[in-house]
């Protein structure tokens, strides 16, 4: 009950006229920042941080959190309409969002993304409100072996992600893992895999660069090739009735994905070092694995849009938790928010909930309000985004190309990244021609940099003894499930042979 009254107080803070206005501006700005490829929530929050010195700290973080929220919704928009992920958190949304748009169902995809985001955000808010201090303790009990086990579990779900050809999926994962090791080694500090001695590789390969290359340029080339230059437009009619119908369809076909994404996303977000990008990718993979209609994923399944969107919104709320209570940012965006808190004179840590209840509960209250606003602004803006799709592909293709290049440059302001984007774009096109699944490579480059150091830390802890993964109470069950999942294709392979032998 005490929590409810604290939350009530927080809501009252959030709906003060100044804060309400900041929330509205924040989610709208965030929506467009998220929709612009290359301009993710990180850039949005960083650019607007100085603006927040004009208002009190409580309002400042509410504003920044509203941008963060809006950007999580917005990232889906360009993923669906253009096939370029608006932000790294929305990469998984392209897997099914883009095929839906190509089938003329862009409106359905956008509605599914909005609903998924809203439900994910709401579930996360409730979990945050009810269990924040408890979850902070759970997050602390996740040491290197536990996080590695979780990453292994995520890799195990990829095997189900790549379709029937397991060998090609494994190749794709390995390829992604190799790309993930480029740059400096965190443990020893030694530079690795600086291909052709190019100093541009020192900083490693940015995930966004890979994603824009593979999904922006690669997808554009693929569409050009498959339509052979014929002028195509995506038909998508707009009507209020249609939006309502789409909501119904999202509820019927996408509820499983939404539920998976909402809970899994929050949990992954809470873990330090993970964040919303792995959360959305893992939500997609697990939803697909649990679905009866696996073959429909990647070709335009509503659940494949709702799951990652629920996952990334849920995780973005979740990742506020380690930031506020442990002082470690769960994602690059929360790192900037953390910097903001230091500037405003607040010390993140276990005492924050006790010492600054107005600040903390005002922020939590604002999550609820931001979520509702973001949903409304997003639904209202859908016709605008659909209108973009009326352009013939001959106009859209150059636009995608320009946006990909500009977006890739905007992220780090390094020309080197643009050459990489083009290389990845062409590489992805050819891999796709030979039926190699690309999603596992993308997942590997996100999770590799988390899995590798935690594996090495674990082995340092145990002096090289791998049994450390099976002797700790949390990592053991996760490891067992992961290993079973990896072995599953082998079981499947053996079983039909046995039955046929019996015949």
């Amino acid at each position: 009950m005490e929590i409810l009254s604290l939350l009530g107080d927080g809501m009252l803070v959030a709906i003060q006229p100044l804060n309400l206005m900041l929330i509205l501006i924040g989610v709208t700005l965030g929506l467009f920042i998220g929709a612009m490829p290359g301009l993710g929530s990180v850039n949005g929050v960083a650019i607007l941080l100085p603006v927040t010195f004009l208002v009190p700290p409580g309002s400042a973080i509410i504003f920044l959190a509203a941008i963060y929220y809006g950007a999580m919704y917005g990232g889906a928009i360009s993923s669906i309409t253009l096939g370029i992920p608006g932000a790294s958190t929305a990469v998984a949304t392209t897997f099914d969002g883009r095929p839906l748009a190509m089938m003329g169902k862009a409106r359905l995809a956008l509605v599914a993304a909005a609903i998924g985001s809203f439900v994910g955000g709401t579930v996360a808010n409730v979990l945050f409100t009810g269990f924040a201090p408890l979850l902070a303790t759970v997050a602390l009990s996740f040491g290197p072996p536990e996080i590695f086990a979780l990453m292994l579990l995520a890799f195990a779900t990829f095997v189900g992600l790549g379709g029937d050809d397991i060998a090609k999926t494994v190749f794709s994962i390995c390829f992604g893992l190799v790309l993930a090791t480029v740059g400096f080694d965190q443990v020893s500090g030694a530079p690795r895999l600086l291909l052709f001695d190019l100093s541009g590789f020192l900083g490693g390969i940015s995930f966004l660069v890979l994603a824009i290359g593979v999904y922006g340029i690669g997808e554009m080339l693929w569409t050009l090739e498959s339509t052979r230059g014929k002028i195509t437009t995506t038909d998508a009619k707009m009507s209020v009735k249609g939006i309502v119908e789409d909501m119904g369809e999202t509820a019927r076909k996408g509820w499983k994905g939404t539920a998976t994404g909402s809970f899994l996303g929050f949990f992954v977000g809470v873990l330090p070092a993970a964040g919303a990008t792995p959360a959305s990718l893992m939500s997609y993979a697990i939803t697909k694995m649990l679905s009866k209609n696996k073959h429909e994923f990647g070709k335009g399944h509503v659940g494949g849009v709702a799951a990652p969107e629920a996952g990334n919104n849920s995780a973005s709320t979740g990742s506020m938790l380690p930031m506020l209570t442990l002082g470690i940012p769960g994602s690059p965006t929360t790192a900037i928010l953390l910097g903001g808190m230091v500037i405003w004179g607040l010390t993140p840590g276990p005492r924050l909930f006790v010492d600054e209840p107005d600040f903390v509960w005002g922020l939590i209250g604002s999550f609820y309000v931001s979520n509702i606003f973001a949903l409304l602004v997003n639904i209202c803006a859908i016709p605008l985004f659909i209108w973009m799709l009326r352009m013939p592909f001959t106009v859209l293709a150059p636009l995608i190309f320009v946006l990909s290049v500009v977006g890739g440059y905007a992220a780090m302001q390094d020309m080197f990244d643009i050459w990489l984007i083009l290389a990845f774009g062409f590489g992805a096109f050819f891999l796709r021609k030979f039926d190699y699944p690309l999603a596992p490579a993308v997942l590997a480059i996100v999770l590799g940099p988390i899995a590798e150091p935690t594996l090495r830390q674990s082995l340092l802890l145990s002096s090289g003894d791998p049994s450390i993964f099976f002797t700790r109470p949390i990592s053991m069950p996760i490891m067992v499930i992961a290993i079973l999942l990896i072995l599953m294709p082998a079981f499947k392979y053996l079983r039909p042979r046995r039955t046929s032998a019996a015949e």
């Binding site: 010195f53 602390l140 020192l202 900083g203 330090p272 690059p332 276990p350």
Partner: protein, 318 residues
Amino acid sequence: MNILKTLAIGIAALGLSAPAAMADWQPRKPIDFVIMAGPGGGADQIARFIQSVVEKKDMTSRPLIPNNKGGGSGAESLIWLNDANDANHTLLVTLNSFFATPIRQPELGIDIQTFTPVAMMGVDPFALWVHKDSGIETFEQWVETVKAADGEYVVGGTGTGQEDSIVFAYLSKAYDLKLKYIPFDGGGAVAAALAGQQIMATVNNPAEARGFYQSGDVRPLLVFSDERMESYPDAPTLKEQGHDFSYYNQRAIVGAPGMSDEAATYYQDLFAEVYNSEEWQGYMEKESLSPLWMDADEQRGYWKIQVDNHNDLLTGMK
């Protein structure tokens, strides 16, 4: 022809008169404010704090844009500065990896004396921390516990060869201890790992450990400063224990090699203003930083001493 000539002369005249008219150099584009560490650690907090002070007081005509390049114990950022496209708009927020990394990795080809000194903003002391549930109250107890663990005592810090590992290496040598050192990605992650008892001790800076110190989860046993620290009056210095060793992390701003003298003067004045601001003075007090202002020449002298010190320390680690 005439028009062209006039234009050409006009442009040339503009070009000549421009520097004279702008005796005061000003940045012409956003300043790349490179941070030698990942997000959340001490250097990152300081960089973002400085950025906010500069923004709040409107001290520059162009913003400072923080840019985390923590890869390879700071090697990534050193190379970034060495190869800076625009030396006049590239600054680095440093820690001691500025000295240690070029020594450990000579193949990087970094000579820090070519860099441009801008400002020494203060130095950050180190302390030895344990979890409250360990039951360890004093440094003597700690040494006994580590000895009793016989190589199974797990400590954590930032990357191998970075500040934390240097401090632990000195301790283990001085007291003949066997420690298992686990590297983490930044001081924030180290502090959380101790709070979650994934590791048994750290040598975090006060700012990094502050949240968990306030909540009572962690306890300082020893400080590595020259004098006892006001914030932890009960923790003895290592010098009191009879070892002539103190270690601080430098919180300094350094410019790219090849920065013009005018630009260097501009940034030196800018950071002097930040240093003297109420905000920065307050921050140093709150985060237990020791004030230590140095001008450009003093900084070059300090760099020489630190390079020698780190040479000795790193040779001692092998």
